[in-house]
């Protein structure tokens, strides 16, 4: 039923594909192949180009925005209506699973579009960590968006997602800027782990980002639990 609700609005699907595909394709295609030295997980270094770096990380920046916005509005929709579904006879767990499934599906659609656009211009050393990092970026920011949507109005939540995604994924974690390696304090931000996974997959033949993977999964599980709790409280019996 939740997916039927989304299918009723085909423009969402179009935008989940078009926005990431356009931004990723345009940014990579326009970037000059200026040499750049970056730091990789595990203490390694690599010399690459700005164009390849854009290929490695741009999808993460876009999906953070898109997934965050999806999270905001899915949560606000849930808060507005899911309590009535429970009163009508649905089990609370069913409504929660449905909403989480919609979030996951939206992230997947945006991730597929981003990966497809990236693949036209860039081939990483290993697709698996790059795609995993991308999807986890989306899931983490979808959860952050959901929590923002639960406590803020839509305008403030949209602004907050812009601020968070821009600061974290687009600037602080981006090896295109600064020294080529995120500063030490960047590890406290949610985008650190998945972006380092993406960079490792893009430029390293073997996987070295085990610590970053653990950190990413920690963020994802913690945020998913909190989102589930918020949804459960929203649909649970009052009083």
């Amino acid at each position: 039923m939740a997916f039927r609700d989304q299918r009723r609005r085909p423009l969402v699907l179009v935008l989940l594909v078009a926005l990431p595909a356009y931004v990723v394709a345009r940014s990579i295609a326009q970037t000059e192949a200026t040499p750049r030295r970056i730091g990789l997980p595990g203490g390694l270094e690599a010399t690459t180009t700005m164009q390849d770096l854009h290929g490695a990380v741009m999808a993460g920046a876009v999906i953070a925005f898109v997934a965050g916005l999806v999270g905001v509005f899915v949560m606000q929709s849930a808060l507005a209506g899911d309590r009535r579904l429970v009163v009508a006879g649905y089990r609370p767990g069913e409504t929660i699973v449905a909403r989480l499934a919609v979030l996951a599906a939206a992230v997947t659609v945006a991730a597929v579009a981003s990966v497809a656009a990236t693949a036209v211009y860039f081939t990483p050393e290993s697709w698996t960590p790059l795609v995993a990092g991308l999807v986890l970026t989306g899931l983490i920011y979808a959860a952050i968006g959901a929590l923002a949507g639960a406590v803020l109005d839509r305008l403030a939540a949209t602004y907050l997602i812009l601020f968070a995604a821009l600061t974290d994924v687009t600037i602080v974690q981006n090896p295109m800027f600064g020294s080529g390696t995120p500063d030490g304090w960047a590890v406290v931000l949610p985008g650190y782990g998945p972006v380092r996974m993406m960079v490792d997959g893009a430029f390293s033949a073997s996987f070295h980002a085990w610590g970053e993977l653990a950190l990413t999964l920690g963020w994802f599980v913690a945020l998913a639990v909190v989102v589930a709790i918020v949804l459960r409280r929203a649909v649970g019996p009052s009083g």
Partner: protein, 238 residues
Amino acid sequence: MLSAALPTGAAFLREHLRAPLTLVLLVAIPAFFVLVFASVLGEFATALGGDLAQRAATSISAGWAAAFLSGTLAFFQVSSSRGADRRLALAGLGSWRVATARIGAAVAMAVAVSAVAFATLSLRSGVEHPAHAAVAILAFALIYIGIGAAVGAAIRSPLEGSLVVMLAFSLDVFSGPRMTSEGGIAAWTPTRDAAELLVAAGGGMASPAADWLAVGGAAAGALAVALVAFWLGSRTRG
């Protein structure tokens, strides 16, 4: 008309500022854009093959901050307030007064956001043509009020609408003057002239009268579009 629209416009303004975090973000985001994003924008433009100098990059980041915040605000004003605006119009205010009040609130927010962006720009790097920069930043905001309101009139869903506003913003950013080495749609983006003004002001250069006329025309056109969008949103049927 104004005696009814002004208090209503003030009420619309209070509606958005009721949440303290909204006010905080309206100040923090423009300041952040100018202080942090500007420092990487020059590198970003160079990576894209553009020739945006550092001072110009700082200036244009102020315009984009004002643009995105104002466009998002205008979108939510139109899409979220249809029911309430129709009831206000039916209660005696009339559609045009409601639309005027909405425009007034949107422009007031745009002025506030632009002021924060301009103040941060002045403090961070100074501007050799401050009046030019201030007008250009405000023009960015006013143009995006038109874009956001038009999107809100066409698209009711908040998710789709905010994604369309983001897509429009992305098209604009990637096609902005000096941002890339390509031509393409750069000649047709609505903020092109405002961006040229802002880049020139940031770089300490004057702009020809034609650029000013073009910016004035774009801003006026955008506000006209916004007024129509707000009117359509508050129009009663039958």
